[in-house]
Protein backbone atom coordinates (compact mmCIF):
# COMPACT_ATOMS: atom_id res chain seq x y z
CA UNK A 1 0.00 0.00 0.00
CA UNK A 2 1.12 3.52 -0.64
CA UNK A 3 0.50 6.35 1.74
CA UNK A 4 -1.24 9.58 0.84
CA UNK A 5 0.01 12.73 -0.70
CA UNK A 6 1.40 14.51 2.31
CA UNK A 7 3.85 11.78 3.03
CA UNK A 8 5.83 11.54 6.16
CA UNK A 9 8.62 13.87 5.09
CA UNK A 10 6.39 16.81 4.24
CA UNK A 11 4.31 16.27 7.36
CA UNK A 12 7.38 16.16 9.58
CA UNK A 13 8.76 19.36 8.09
CA UNK A 14 5.47 21.15 8.58
CA UNK A 15 5.20 20.03 12.16
CA UNK A 16 8.77 21.08 12.88
CA UNK A 17 8.17 24.50 11.41
CA UNK A 18 6.27 25.57 14.47
CA UNK A 19 2.99 26.54 12.88
CA UNK A 20 0.41 25.24 15.29
CA UNK A 21 -2.06 22.54 14.24
CA UNK A 22 -0.63 21.96 10.78
CA UNK A 23 -1.91 18.42 10.75
CA UNK A 24 -5.43 19.46 11.66
CA UNK A 25 -5.46 22.31 9.13
CA UNK A 26 -4.21 20.09 6.33
CA UNK A 27 -6.75 17.41 7.18
CA UNK A 28 -9.51 19.99 7.12
CA UNK A 29 -8.41 21.35 3.75
CA UNK A 30 -8.16 17.86 2.27
CA UNK A 31 -11.61 16.96 3.60
CA UNK A 32 -13.06 20.11 2.02
CA UNK A 33 -11.70 18.99 -1.34
CA UNK A 34 -12.87 15.44 -0.81
CA UNK A 35 -16.42 16.55 -0.17
CA UNK A 36 -16.54 18.45 -3.43
CA UNK A 37 -15.82 15.60 -5.76
CA UNK A 38 -17.28 12.16 -5.23
CA UNK A 39 -16.93 9.37 -7.74
CA UNK A 40 -19.79 6.88 -7.75
CA UNK A 41 -19.30 3.40 -9.12
CA UNK A 42 -21.94 2.60 -11.70
CA UNK A 43 -23.40 -0.52 -10.07
CA UNK A 44 -27.14 -0.99 -9.68
CA UNK A 45 -27.73 -3.76 -7.20
CA UNK A 46 -31.48 -3.93 -6.69
CA UNK A 47 -34.79 -2.37 -7.58
CA UNK A 48 -33.50 1.04 -6.67
CA UNK A 49 -31.27 1.09 -9.70
CA UNK A 50 -34.22 2.55 -11.55
CA UNK A 51 -33.93 5.76 -9.53
CA UNK A 52 -30.27 6.29 -10.35
CA UNK A 53 -30.54 7.33 -14.01
CA UNK A 54 -32.99 10.16 -13.23
CA UNK A 55 -30.68 11.42 -10.49
CA UNK A 56 -27.65 11.59 -12.76
CA UNK A 57 -29.28 13.00 -15.90
CA UNK A 58 -30.66 16.33 -16.88
CA UNK A 59 -33.66 16.80 -14.64
CA UNK A 60 -32.32 16.17 -11.14
CA UNK A 61 -28.72 16.85 -11.99
CA UNK A 62 -26.33 15.33 -9.47
CA UNK A 63 -23.23 16.53 -11.30
CA UNK A 64 -23.80 20.01 -9.86
CA UNK A 65 -22.35 18.76 -6.60
CA UNK A 66 -19.40 17.08 -8.23
CA UNK A 67 -20.90 13.59 -8.09
CA UNK A 68 -19.99 11.77 -11.27
CA UNK A 69 -20.07 8.13 -12.29
CA UNK A 70 -17.04 6.00 -13.04
CA UNK A 71 -16.74 2.48 -14.29
CA UNK A 72 -14.38 0.61 -11.96
CA UNK A 73 -14.20 0.18 -8.20
CA UNK A 74 -10.55 1.19 -8.26
CA UNK A 75 -11.44 4.75 -9.19
CA UNK A 76 -14.56 5.12 -7.03
CA UNK A 77 -15.21 6.59 -3.58
CA UNK A 78 -18.86 5.79 -3.18
CA UNK A 79 -21.01 2.76 -3.77
CA UNK A 80 -24.77 3.07 -3.77
CA UNK A 81 -26.57 -0.08 -2.68
CA UNK A 82 -30.01 0.42 -4.08
CA UNK A 83 -32.52 -1.95 -2.58
CA UNK A 84 -32.49 -5.56 -1.51
CA UNK A 85 -29.42 -7.77 -1.68
CA UNK A 86 -29.68 -11.44 -2.49
CA UNK A 87 -26.93 -13.71 -1.21
CA UNK A 88 -25.58 -13.93 -4.73
CA UNK A 89 -25.29 -10.17 -4.97
CA UNK A 90 -23.83 -9.86 -1.48
CA UNK A 91 -20.81 -11.95 -2.47
CA UNK A 92 -20.07 -9.67 -5.40
CA UNK A 93 -20.75 -6.50 -3.42
CA UNK A 94 -18.30 -7.52 -0.72
CA UNK A 95 -15.66 -8.23 -3.29
CA UNK A 96 -16.27 -4.87 -4.97
CA UNK A 97 -16.21 -3.03 -1.66
CA UNK A 98 -12.86 -4.49 -0.77
CA UNK A 99 -11.44 -3.43 -4.12
CA UNK A 100 -12.25 0.22 -3.55
CA UNK A 101 -9.48 2.46 -2.25
CA UNK A 102 -9.78 4.20 1.08
CA UNK A 103 -11.53 6.50 1.97
CA UNK A 104 -14.70 4.84 0.74
CA UNK A 105 -18.34 5.32 1.63
CA UNK A 106 -21.62 3.49 1.18
CA UNK A 107 -25.09 4.90 0.77
CA UNK A 108 -28.00 2.50 1.01
CA UNK A 109 -31.35 3.29 -0.52
CA UNK A 110 -34.71 2.02 0.55
CA UNK A 111 -36.02 0.10 3.53
CA UNK A 112 -34.67 -3.30 2.53
CA UNK A 113 -31.13 -2.79 3.85
CA UNK A 114 -32.54 -1.50 7.14
CA UNK A 115 -34.93 -4.24 8.09
CA UNK A 116 -35.82 -6.38 5.13
CA UNK A 117 -38.52 -4.12 3.71
CA UNK A 118 -40.90 -5.73 1.28
CA UNK A 119 -38.93 -9.00 1.25
CA UNK A 120 -38.94 -9.54 4.99
CA UNK A 121 -39.92 -13.19 4.73
CA UNK A 122 -37.96 -14.15 1.64
CA UNK A 123 -35.49 -17.00 1.81
CA UNK A 124 -32.94 -15.41 -0.49
CA UNK A 125 -32.33 -11.86 0.74
CA UNK A 126 -30.53 -10.44 3.74
CA UNK A 127 -32.40 -8.49 6.32
CA UNK A 128 -29.92 -6.26 8.08
CA UNK A 129 -27.11 -4.95 5.92
CA UNK A 130 -25.23 -3.42 8.84
CA UNK A 131 -24.02 -6.84 9.88
CA UNK A 132 -22.10 -7.45 6.69
CA UNK A 133 -20.96 -4.05 5.38
CA UNK A 134 -20.78 -0.71 7.20
CA UNK A 135 -23.24 1.90 5.97
CA UNK A 136 -22.64 5.63 6.20
CA UNK A 137 -25.93 7.13 5.07
CA UNK A 138 -29.25 5.31 4.81
CA UNK A 139 -31.86 7.01 2.66
CA UNK A 140 -35.34 5.79 3.46
CA UNK A 141 -38.23 5.32 1.08
CA UNK A 142 -39.32 2.53 -1.20
CA UNK A 143 -37.70 3.71 -3.53
CA UNK A 144 -36.51 7.17 -2.53
CA UNK A 145 -37.13 9.80 -5.15
CA UNK A 146 -34.19 11.61 -6.76
CA UNK A 147 -34.72 14.59 -4.47
CA UNK A 148 -34.24 12.30 -1.48
CA UNK A 149 -31.12 10.77 -2.98
CA UNK A 150 -29.66 14.23 -3.53
CA UNK A 151 -30.41 15.04 0.10
CA UNK A 152 -28.47 11.89 0.98
CA UNK A 153 -25.51 13.16 -1.05
CA UNK A 154 -25.61 16.49 0.75
CA UNK A 155 -25.67 14.73 4.12
CA UNK A 156 -22.70 12.64 3.09
CA UNK A 157 -20.83 15.78 2.04
CA UNK A 158 -21.49 17.33 5.45
CA UNK A 159 -20.21 14.22 7.18
CA UNK A 160 -17.06 14.15 5.11
CA UNK A 161 -16.40 17.82 5.77
CA UNK A 162 -16.85 17.44 9.52
CA UNK A 163 -14.62 14.40 9.60
CA UNK A 164 -17.01 12.10 11.38
CA UNK A 165 -16.12 8.48 11.82
CA UNK A 166 -16.69 6.76 8.50
CA UNK A 167 -17.64 3.23 7.60
CA UNK A 168 -14.27 2.12 6.31
CA UNK A 169 -12.65 2.76 9.69
CA UNK A 170 -15.33 0.62 11.33
CA UNK A 171 -14.68 -2.12 8.81
CA UNK A 172 -10.97 -2.12 9.53
CA UNK A 173 -11.36 -2.15 13.28
CA UNK A 174 -14.12 -4.78 13.51
CA UNK A 175 -13.05 -6.98 10.63
CA UNK A 176 -13.55 -10.18 12.61
CA UNK A 177 -17.17 -9.33 13.38
CA UNK A 178 -17.97 -8.59 9.75
CA UNK A 179 -16.17 -11.64 8.40
CA UNK A 180 -17.91 -13.93 10.90
CA UNK A 181 -21.31 -12.68 9.80
CA UNK A 182 -20.41 -13.03 6.15
CA UNK A 183 -19.15 -16.56 6.64
CA UNK A 184 -22.28 -17.51 8.55
CA UNK A 185 -24.61 -16.38 5.81
CA UNK A 186 -22.59 -17.09 2.69
CA UNK A 187 -20.92 -20.30 3.77
CA UNK A 188 -17.33 -21.02 2.99
CA UNK A 189 -17.67 -19.64 -0.52
CA UNK A 190 -16.81 -16.08 0.47
CA UNK A 191 -13.96 -14.73 -1.61
CA UNK A 192 -10.85 -13.82 0.30
CA UNK A 193 -9.83 -10.22 0.19
CA UNK A 194 -6.33 -9.70 -0.94
CA UNK A 195 -5.93 -6.21 0.39
CA UNK A 196 -6.81 -6.42 4.06
CA UNK A 197 -4.42 -7.21 6.86
CA UNK A 198 -6.67 -10.09 7.83
CA UNK A 199 -5.60 -12.01 4.77
CA UNK A 200 -1.95 -11.11 4.97
CA UNK A 201 -1.70 -12.17 8.60
CA UNK A 202 -2.80 -15.69 7.76
CA UNK A 203 -6.48 -15.20 8.49
CA UNK A 204 -7.66 -18.72 7.98
CA UNK A 205 -9.04 -18.91 11.46
CA UNK A 206 -11.50 -16.02 11.06
Amino acid sequence: MESGFYGSSIKCKLEESGIPNTHAIMERVVRWFESRSIFVIAYGTGCGAIEMPPTFTSRYDAERMGVVGVATPRQADLMILSGYLAYKTLRRVIRTYEQMQKPKYIISLGSCPINGGMYWDSYNTIKKLDDYIPIDVAVTGCMPRPEAIIEGFVLLQERIKNGEKAGWEKYDKNLKFYKENQRRVLGDHTDPSYETDWYNLGGGDI
Binding site: K88, S122, K127, V185
Partner: protein, 200 residues
Protein backbone atom coordinates in the same frame (compact mmCIF):
# COMPACT_ATOMS: atom_id res chain seq x y z
CA UNK B 1 -63.37 -27.70 -33.90
CA UNK B 2 -61.94 -30.96 -35.04
CA UNK B 3 -59.34 -30.88 -32.27
CA UNK B 4 -62.01 -32.07 -29.85
CA UNK B 5 -62.95 -34.86 -32.26
CA UNK B 6 -59.34 -35.92 -32.70
CA UNK B 7 -58.78 -35.97 -28.98
CA UNK B 8 -61.92 -38.01 -28.44
CA UNK B 9 -60.33 -40.74 -30.55
CA UNK B 10 -57.54 -40.88 -27.95
CA UNK B 11 -60.23 -40.95 -25.22
CA UNK B 12 -59.40 -37.45 -23.91
CA UNK B 13 -61.82 -34.57 -23.33
CA UNK B 14 -61.10 -31.01 -24.43
CA UNK B 15 -62.31 -28.25 -22.12
CA UNK B 16 -62.80 -24.71 -23.45
CA UNK B 17 -62.01 -21.89 -21.04
CA UNK B 18 -62.07 -18.89 -23.36
CA UNK B 19 -62.40 -18.18 -27.00
CA UNK B 20 -58.68 -18.89 -27.33
CA UNK B 21 -57.82 -21.12 -24.35
CA UNK B 22 -58.30 -24.92 -24.12
CA UNK B 23 -57.37 -27.51 -21.54
CA UNK B 24 -56.64 -31.24 -21.69
CA UNK B 25 -56.00 -33.48 -18.68
CA UNK B 26 -53.87 -36.54 -19.34
CA UNK B 27 -52.11 -39.29 -17.39
CA UNK B 28 -48.38 -39.05 -16.95
CA UNK B 29 -47.64 -42.24 -18.94
CA UNK B 30 -49.30 -40.84 -22.09
CA UNK B 31 -47.76 -37.37 -21.77
CA UNK B 32 -44.86 -37.71 -24.18
CA UNK B 33 -46.84 -39.31 -26.98
CA UNK B 34 -49.55 -36.68 -26.61
CA UNK B 35 -47.05 -33.83 -26.87
CA UNK B 36 -45.49 -35.38 -29.96
CA UNK B 37 -48.88 -35.76 -31.57
CA UNK B 38 -49.70 -32.13 -30.72
CA UNK B 39 -46.60 -31.02 -32.62
CA UNK B 40 -46.89 -33.33 -35.59
CA UNK B 41 -50.60 -33.69 -36.22
CA UNK B 42 -52.39 -30.75 -34.61
CA UNK B 43 -49.85 -28.07 -35.55
CA UNK B 44 -49.26 -26.68 -32.05
CA UNK B 45 -45.57 -26.05 -32.43
CA UNK B 46 -44.65 -23.37 -29.86
CA UNK B 47 -44.01 -24.08 -26.21
CA UNK B 48 -44.97 -21.08 -24.03
CA UNK B 49 -44.12 -22.36 -20.58
CA UNK B 50 -43.91 -25.37 -18.30
CA UNK B 51 -45.54 -24.68 -14.93
CA UNK B 52 -45.73 -26.68 -11.72
CA UNK B 53 -48.18 -26.54 -8.83
CA UNK B 54 -47.60 -28.24 -5.50
CA UNK B 55 -50.77 -30.00 -4.27
CA UNK B 56 -49.64 -30.99 -0.81
CA UNK B 57 -53.00 -32.45 0.23
CA UNK B 58 -53.10 -34.97 -2.63
CA UNK B 59 -49.37 -35.61 -2.59
CA UNK B 60 -48.84 -34.77 -6.29
CA UNK B 61 -47.25 -32.10 -8.47
CA UNK B 62 -49.57 -30.78 -11.18
CA UNK B 63 -47.52 -29.96 -14.29
CA UNK B 64 -48.96 -27.82 -17.09
CA UNK B 65 -47.51 -27.44 -20.59
CA UNK B 66 -48.81 -24.42 -22.51
CA UNK B 67 -48.64 -24.81 -26.29
CA UNK B 68 -49.53 -22.30 -28.99
CA UNK B 69 -50.46 -23.13 -32.53
CA UNK B 70 -48.77 -21.98 -35.69
CA UNK B 71 -51.19 -19.10 -36.32
CA UNK B 72 -50.78 -17.92 -32.72
CA UNK B 73 -54.48 -17.70 -32.00
CA UNK B 74 -55.15 -20.68 -29.72
CA UNK B 75 -53.45 -21.87 -26.56
CA UNK B 76 -53.77 -25.40 -25.21
CA UNK B 77 -52.88 -26.34 -21.60
CA UNK B 78 -51.90 -29.97 -21.11
CA UNK B 79 -52.07 -31.06 -17.46
CA UNK B 80 -50.64 -34.12 -15.72
CA UNK B 81 -50.07 -35.15 -12.15
CA UNK B 82 -46.92 -36.84 -10.91
CA UNK B 83 -45.85 -38.15 -7.53
CA UNK B 84 -44.07 -35.84 -5.10
CA UNK B 85 -41.52 -38.42 -4.06
CA UNK B 86 -38.90 -39.09 -6.78
CA UNK B 87 -40.70 -36.91 -9.31
CA UNK B 88 -39.46 -37.51 -12.86
CA UNK B 89 -40.59 -36.22 -16.21
CA UNK B 90 -39.36 -36.83 -19.76
CA UNK B 91 -37.16 -33.99 -20.94
CA UNK B 92 -38.40 -31.94 -23.90
CA UNK B 93 -35.27 -29.95 -24.69
CA UNK B 94 -34.68 -31.73 -28.00
CA UNK B 95 -38.03 -30.66 -29.41
CA UNK B 96 -38.07 -27.17 -27.91
CA UNK B 97 -34.72 -25.57 -26.92
CA UNK B 98 -36.41 -23.21 -24.45
CA UNK B 99 -37.48 -26.19 -22.36
CA UNK B 100 -33.90 -26.54 -21.16
CA UNK B 101 -34.13 -23.41 -18.99
CA UNK B 102 -37.67 -24.12 -17.83
CA UNK B 103 -36.80 -27.62 -16.69
CA UNK B 104 -33.66 -26.38 -14.96
CA UNK B 105 -35.73 -23.92 -12.94
CA UNK B 106 -38.28 -26.60 -12.06
CA UNK B 107 -35.52 -28.90 -10.90
CA UNK B 108 -34.09 -26.25 -8.61
CA UNK B 109 -37.34 -24.92 -7.19
CA UNK B 110 -39.43 -28.09 -6.89
CA UNK B 111 -37.00 -30.99 -7.12
CA UNK B 112 -38.34 -32.62 -10.28
CA UNK B 113 -35.80 -34.80 -12.05
CA UNK B 114 -35.32 -34.86 -15.83
CA UNK B 115 -33.19 -37.79 -17.01
CA UNK B 116 -31.16 -36.90 -20.08
CA UNK B 117 -31.09 -33.15 -19.41
CA UNK B 118 -27.70 -31.64 -20.27
CA UNK B 119 -27.37 -29.11 -17.45
CA UNK B 120 -29.30 -29.58 -14.21
CA UNK B 121 -27.28 -27.10 -12.17
CA UNK B 122 -27.88 -23.93 -10.14
CA UNK B 123 -30.21 -21.50 -11.80
CA UNK B 124 -30.99 -18.62 -9.44
CA UNK B 125 -29.71 -19.82 -6.08
CA UNK B 126 -26.04 -20.38 -5.36
CA UNK B 127 -24.84 -23.16 -3.06
CA UNK B 128 -28.34 -24.01 -1.82
CA UNK B 129 -28.32 -26.77 0.76
CA UNK B 130 -31.94 -27.05 1.90
CA UNK B 131 -35.06 -28.59 0.36
CA UNK B 132 -36.28 -27.03 -2.90
CA UNK B 133 -37.79 -23.73 -1.73
CA UNK B 134 -40.98 -23.56 -3.77
CA UNK B 135 -42.44 -26.65 -2.12
CA UNK B 136 -45.23 -25.90 0.26
CA UNK B 137 -43.68 -27.75 3.18
CA UNK B 138 -40.71 -25.35 3.18
CA UNK B 139 -41.31 -22.73 5.87
CA UNK B 140 -39.75 -19.51 4.66
CA UNK B 141 -40.26 -17.62 7.91
CA UNK B 142 -38.51 -20.31 9.92
CA UNK B 143 -35.62 -20.35 7.47
CA UNK B 144 -35.35 -16.56 7.67
CA UNK B 145 -35.33 -16.56 11.45
CA UNK B 146 -32.61 -19.21 11.40
CA UNK B 147 -30.31 -17.37 9.00
CA UNK B 148 -30.92 -13.66 9.50
CA UNK B 149 -31.59 -11.75 12.67
CA UNK B 150 -33.89 -8.78 12.34
CA UNK B 151 -32.98 -5.35 13.59
CA UNK B 152 -34.34 -4.52 17.06
CA UNK B 153 -36.13 -1.38 18.08
CA UNK B 154 -34.57 2.04 18.34
CA UNK B 155 -33.09 3.17 21.64
CA UNK B 156 -35.76 5.81 22.11
CA UNK B 157 -38.62 3.54 21.11
CA UNK B 158 -41.93 4.18 22.90
CA UNK B 159 -44.81 1.80 23.59
CA UNK B 160 -47.75 2.64 21.34
CA UNK B 161 -50.61 1.79 23.74
CA UNK B 162 -49.17 3.83 26.60
CA UNK B 163 -48.63 6.84 24.37
CA UNK B 164 -52.19 6.72 23.04
CA UNK B 165 -53.59 6.47 26.56
CA UNK B 166 -51.50 9.41 27.70
CA UNK B 167 -52.62 11.50 24.75
CA UNK B 168 -56.28 10.73 25.31
CA UNK B 169 -56.08 11.65 28.99
CA UNK B 170 -54.24 14.88 28.22
CA UNK B 171 -56.93 15.84 25.74
CA UNK B 172 -59.66 15.15 28.28
CA UNK B 173 -57.91 17.17 30.95
CA UNK B 174 -57.44 20.10 28.58
CA UNK B 175 -61.14 20.04 27.66
CA UNK B 176 -62.15 19.97 31.31
CA UNK B 177 -59.88 22.89 32.10
CA UNK B 178 -61.30 24.95 29.21
CA UNK B 179 -64.84 24.36 30.47
CA UNK B 180 -63.91 25.36 34.00
CA UNK B 181 -62.30 28.56 32.79
CA UNK B 182 -65.34 29.46 30.71
CA UNK B 183 -67.62 28.86 33.71
CA UNK B 184 -65.36 30.99 35.91
CA UNK B 185 -65.47 33.84 33.43
CA UNK B 186 -69.27 33.68 33.28
CA UNK B 187 -69.43 33.84 37.06
CA UNK B 188 -67.03 36.80 37.05
CA UNK B 189 -69.16 38.70 34.52
CA UNK B 190 -72.38 38.11 36.46
CA UNK B 191 -70.67 39.27 39.64
CA UNK B 192 -69.48 42.56 38.06
CA UNK B 193 -72.94 43.24 36.60
CA UNK B 194 -74.60 42.81 39.97
CA UNK B 195 -71.95 44.96 41.71
CA UNK B 196 -72.56 47.77 39.18
CA UNK B 197 -76.26 47.56 39.76
CA UNK B 198 -75.69 47.74 43.49
CA UNK B 199 -73.47 50.82 43.03
CA UNK B 200 -76.10 52.62 40.98
Amino acid sequence: MDLAAKLKKLSLTLEQKNNYLYKVVVKSEQLESLLLSFINEFDYITLDSINCRDDLEDGVFTITYCLQNRNRDHIVMIQTSIERENATLPTMHILWPQAEIMEREMHEMFGVNFPGHPSLIDFALEYWNDIPPMRRDFDTLEYVNKMNPFRGQRDDALDAKEEMKKRREAKKAAKLKAEQEAAAKEAQKVKTNTSEEVQR
